[in-house]
């Protein structure tokens, strides 16, 4: 049976359970008690002495005076926010998400005040997480709302795109500034680590990451990383934090590097997120792989196995055609798969790294030429050595296969030389082109196509 808001408050304090306390501040009604928020709202009057009596005296809860005052402040604001939610639920005229957000913002500010005046202890941090979480959700709801009549009238002359864009996420921007204060509140706490708000740094960072991504200002995330980095000396190591804090953190840091085209760093963070992620968190695992697969293609030139993608049909559909074409060296197929998936690739911002897979497809095509070339005759019983002098024309012929060229189309040998020197430059092939002989002279000793065993 779900407890009332007051009961959770009391139990949270007597058990010293931050989660139980945070449950009290969760503005959604549990399924078993759908009227919980409504009951809270109707039981009170918003009157401070009244609330004080209900929170403390009636429950025989003894807390320092300053802390009591902080909680009364928070619950006064919370009661008003509950009222806005109830009104919205009832379809009361004038009720809106925008009003819910404003009331919730006041709750967040009261909570922040409680921490910054040192009235609240660090074990209550889950309250900060839950208030922050709903601050963001209510802000997005409010931004998605149709602007009210009066604001339309007011903005009539200013309706250009800039204003519209700004208006579109005004509440979320506001929420971001408050969440930033929450983050600073945690990061700058100098209390001994057992009772420090430092344990909240990753949780608040994750909230901000989500928000900055939504606002399309990923660049702002880097300020957070710089701040975290600057205080890393007195921060516990990552493994000491709960996995629900560090998995999203590592995911977002990975994606930030990914968008900067720093694929090796991205791969490191995403791999960590992947390994630590809860095995049943399907959606999150799918998101991690969405970026980890392109990273692998770029950095280690490896492709996802059937087993890896099997549980994720959406990813299998997204990546498999590309991977098959890379493996076969099918350039036409690769281009077709790229354009078939283009919309989704662009939306997920993975188009650029995936495009680099074309070089690998080309490498594999040329590698097959090398293998088809067989071995030179061995001398004095030495093990046979692959033929390392390959006419450019053979690579031209391979290009005809890879591009499904028809009989009439001509292959331009200069273009083939250009493709070859490009692969050599990128380290995917080792050797040089002898132009006067129209030959490619490849490196001997299993290094002609580095890392591929030949």
């Amino acid at each position: 049976m779900a407890a009332s808001i007051y009961e959770d408050f009391k139990q949270g304090h007597s058990l010293g359970s931050g989660d139980r306390l945070a449950a009290s501040l969760t503005p959604i009604a549990p399924a078993e008690y759908p009227d919980r928020l409504r009951a809270f709202y109707h039981s009170g009057s918003g009157d401070v002495p009244d609330l004080h009596r209900t929170l403390f005296r009636n429950h025989k809860l003894k807390l320092p005076k300053q802390e009591q005052a902080a909680w009364v402040d928070i619950y006064t604001a919370y009661w008003k926010a509950a009222g806005e939610l109830v009104k919205l639920d009832d379809g009361t005229e004038g009720a809106s998400w925008s009003k819910v957000f404003d009331a919730w913002k006041a709750t967040a500010n009261a909570l922040i005040r409680g921490y910054s005046t040192s009235s609240l202890q660090a074990w209550t941090l889950p309250c900060l997480y839950v208030i922050g979480k709903y601050l963001r959700l209510f802000a997005m709801r409010a931004d998605a709302e149709q602007p009210s009549q009066e604001s339309i009238g007011f903005n009539d002359d200013l309706q250009d795109d800039v204003v519209a864009d700004f208006e579109k996420s005004a509440k979320l921007e506001e929420a971001a500034r408050i969440m930033n204060r929450m983050f600073t509140l945690c990061l700058s706490d100098r209390a001994p680590i057992e009772d420090s708000r430092k344990w909240g740094i990753y949780s608040t960072t994750n909230l901000l990451f989500k928000t900055y991504f939504k606002l399309n200002s990923v660049g702002l995330s880097k300020n957070l990383l710089r701040a975290l980095n600057a205080s890393s000396a007195d921060t516990p190591e990552l493994e000491a934090f709960p996995k629900s804090h560090i998995v999203p953190f590592e995911y977002y840091v990975g994606v930030i590097h990914f968008l900067d085209e720093k694929y090796a760093e991205a791969e490191q963070h995403l791999t960590y997120a992947w390994k630590m992620c809860h095995r049943d968190a399907f959606k999150n695992k799918e998101l991690i792989l969405t970026y980890l697969v392109p990273c692998h293609i770029v950095t280690t030139h490896t492709l996802p196995s059937k087993g890896l993608l099997a549980p994720f049909p959406r990813l299998e559909k997204l990546f498999r055609p590309l991977c098959d074409c890379i493996r076969k060296g099918d350039l036409v197929g690769f281009d077709a798969a790229m354009s078939a998936g283009e919309e989704e690739f662009v939306k997920r911002r993975i188009y650029l790294p995936l495009e680099r897979g074309r070089d690998i497809a080309l490498r594999n095509l040329f590698r097959r030429v090398f293998i088809a070339g067989g071995f030179d005759e061995s001398k004095n019983g030495q093990p046979p050595i692959r033929r390392t002098r390959v006419p450019v024309a053979e690579f031209g012929a391979a290009m005809r296969i890879g591009t499904h060229a028809d009989t009439k189309s001509r292959i331009d040998m200069d273009e083939i030389e250009c493709l070859l020197s490009n692969l050599i430059y990128k380290g995917l092939m080792k050797g040089y082109i002898s132009r006067e002989r129209s030959m490619v002279v490849l490196s001997k000793g299993g290094t002609a196509f580095p890392g591929t065993g030949v």
Partner: protein, 84 residues
């Protein structure tokens, strides 16, 4: 149940992996909150049994044999012919 409580409830429910309801408040491509705060290593993806073979080499030596050689020779003739 009335609208608001219902929609917010669904947002919460969507964070449970076992529930597949479309999220209401959460964004489609957003990292979801985990239903629990922490979990033992045994419940992490790393401990999943099928983790042995995740990534494969990008080339395939199996079908690089006879067929390709034959095809290559044929195409080579066309390349040589077009040079003249």
């Amino acid at each position: 149940m009335s609208n608001t409580t219902q929609s917010t409830n669904q947002a919460e429910a969507s964070q449970q992996p076992q529930q597949q309801k479309p999220p209401v408040l959460e964004e489609d491509d957003e990292f979801e909150d985990f239903p629990v705060e922490d979990w033992p290593q045994e419940e992490a993806e790393q401990a999943n049994g099928n983790n042995g073979h995740l990534w494969e080499e990008s080339w395939d030596d199996d079908d690089a044999g006879e067929d390709f050689s034959k095809q290559l020779k044929e195409e080579l003739k066309k390349v040589e012919a077009s040079k003249q």
